[in-house]
Symmetry: C2
């Protein structure tokens, strides 16, 4: 596929990469560095519309990453854009919040059963750090339970990278295994009377590991421990929030947290995160000082209100689940037609793809490259994301290209054999 690759020496992508190599560490930092996706994937993008993104060389892809989660209605959804622009046209970052802060807090309190209040930030890491701080403030305790391997952000207390992190940054963390009640019990016992919080992701979505939905028994055990000890049950809904259930992802297992963090899809791409909490943690939230220069800006909040309205009106989670089912079933069937075994784990709207018999993950990588060359942007290690712009027609168009990609993969395999 190298002849269609954006990393041809004269492509704009290649030119930008060469320039970036001298002025940006490693050419790019963080989760959007091209070093983390298969060779041939573009590093730089120009725009997007609906279910499609366009790279800087003008190639369009049906987008199954949705900007790694933020795009839930499709790129540049006209109603969201109009809502954001209306505020942008008057001013975004002012000497205080706009009315949209109130409208959004009201909207979240109305949608999310556990939420008695909300506050807004910028990063998912902001929201999760604030949840932990509020849990400690509200309980006057220190120990925080987190699942081994879970991703709660990229700041020292929780970053997957330990370089530059001190032991003290994680001194009060105790680890349990997601969906394993015994390990949770043991961690709670270890925390003793210093248990401030149990933090759990909406579902198990650790990088490159088969995803797991939460077991109801596990969620109930976490709730029961918090009820018994007075600790905070903290739901990390940053990645999953609003895709699985507009009331919070653990509504699907009937469990309500005390505090929850949201970001990603909340404003269909506009920068925003949120913490919701119940009244037990309101005094803590009134006293802890958390802030940021752009946290009160109006346009992202206007975008969020509109995004949530549309998700409600369109029965968003159900439609996303259906689109995800169509995509996941179609992809695994296409794989089987060409002699490959692929499983999709996790919620269909946020699926992770695994190839059987692929110990070095080269098969998944080669498949993604074949799909990319046919205009479908997939990810071989990280979960993907569906949006409401992934209509049946769009998903079927992608599946047709995916079938061709598997056919090419099968040809390559038999040529190699």
């Amino acid at each position: 596929m190298t002849d269609a690759s954006p990393d041809l020496p004269n492509s704009l992508d290649a030119q930008l990469r060469r320039r970036a190599a001298s002025v940006i560490p490693g050419g790019m930092w963080g989760h959007m560095r091209a070093a983390a996706v298969p060779e041939g994937y573009p590093q730089f993008f120009a725009g997007g519309e609906g279910a499609r993104v366009r790279d800087v060389d003008g190639r369009d892809y049906i987008d199954f990453m949705c900007s790694w989660g933020p795009i839930i209605l499709g790129h540049r959804h006209p109603e969201v854009e109009a809502a954001a622009r209306e505020q942008l046209d008057r001013g975004d970052c002012l000497d205080g919040p706009t009315e949209h802060a109130v409208r959004l807090a009201e909207k979240m309190v109305a949608l999310i059963p556990h939420a008695d209040w909300a506050l807004f930030q910028k990063n998912g890491s902001d929201a999760m750090t604030t949840c932990v701080t509020l849990a400690r403030a509200g309980t006057a305790r220190r120990k925080v339970l987190v699942a081994k391997g879970a991703y709660h952000g990229a700041v020292p207390w929780c970053s997957p990278s330990v370089l530059g992190v001190t032991a003290e940054d994680r001194a009060h963390l105790i680890y349990y295994t997601y969906n394993d009640v015994e390990s949770l019990d043991a961690a709670v016992a270890e925390a003793g009377d210093d248990l401030a919080a149990i933090v759990a992701s909406a579902f198990k979505h650790d990088l490159a590991i088969r995803q797991q939905l939460p077991d109801a028994a596990f969620a109930r055990a976490a709730r029961a421990h918090c009820d018994r000890t007075g600790a905070a049950l903290v739901l990390d809904d940053v990645r999953a929030g609003f895709r699985l259930n507009l009331g919070g992802s653990w509504e699907n297992v009937g469990i309500r947290p005390d505090l929850a963090g949201y970001s990603k899809a909340i404003a269909n791409g506009y920068p925003l995160s949120a913490v919701t909490g119940n009244d037990r943690f309101r005094p803590a939230a009134e006293q802890v000082f958390v802030t940021g220069s752009f946290w009160y800006s109006g346009a992202p909040m206007a975008a969020a209100v509109k995004t949530l309205e549309i998700l409600e009106r369109e029965d968003g989670p159900a439609r996303l689940a259906a689109a995800g089912e169509r995509f996941c079933t179609g992809l695994t069937e296409a794989a089987a037609r060409h002699g490959f075994e692929v499983t999709m784990s996790g919620p269909p709207a946020i699926p992770l793809m695994h190839f059987a018999d692929d110990p070095d993950a080269k098969l998944g990588e080669a498949f993604c490259q074949q799909a990319l060359a046919r205009g479908v942007y997939l990810h071989n290690k990280h979960n993907m994301f569906l949006s409401l712009a992934h209509t049946d027609a769009v998903v079927d168009e992608a599946l047709s290209a995916i079938d061709d990609a598997f056919a090419a993969l099968a040809r390559d395999r038999s040529a190699d054999a």
Copy 2:
């Protein structure tokens, strides 16, 4: 001034406050809560243009807070808006960065002498936390020196609020006194061979305390300690960056840091922060994983490139200094004309106001209320900010209202006497 106050019971501001009280902790969180400004100040804003902001009840103010720093060219600067909109019209948050990431990194490397590279984030807290992490990663040491009372963000390692913070979050901090070489020497000695970084603000801008520019001798001592020990000199230019010197605020004292954090004014209100570093810390920056969902969005970076271009073209720092001088001199002279002694401390473009003989700070508060009622938005405890939209005519218009405000304050004082 209550008859002009936006907190009349039927004002839109009052209505929004009542609604916020039930769904937002304390009615508002963080530095933009109205509880932190004098009674009568609006909580909610509708928009802004140039040097003026408008509250939700339609009252316009000449704005000396500039959104607490982000607005450096004036609200809704047309060239910045056009640059941001051009990218917004194509898509903002995509599957990877846009070309603006490269353009902005190149621009910062060109402008800032110490910078060999740049990376971008959202919050000032992100930038400062990353600087500390990179310093630790690059030196394999742990101790970080910070000035007593300095504000470097609102996350547990540095927040002014200690509720919900554990002792371990600050286990490796050692405190010195800003501009006090002896205290810096003592802190360096205490860190011993575990010194990772000396963190210093661009100038001493602790809340409500008379501001101090950096002494050159102090800055030189910090640089010398870092040169001798291999620790990183980290400049917190989040608040001051681009207002005092486009090459970094310590260019004014001839000292270059190893790492620096920027945010606030970098994109004239669009959400963005940045870390710059020299090549000594490039390997650390290549290895440490820091990221966020919206850190790669194109529009704020397009806005930042344009903001920096305009600041360069317009000789921004010199014009801001001149506007600040006109404002500070005019305000202190107006005070004197009416029998008050007011001092302005810190750089004139980021001045802090103090009334003499005002032990309970009531005089400053009453003055701000009088000025607000006359259409001038000042702050009595936090430093203020000038922008390029603060032309001589705008400053003079504000000074005329300020003169009236002092006259009213004098009348109130003699009526009370």
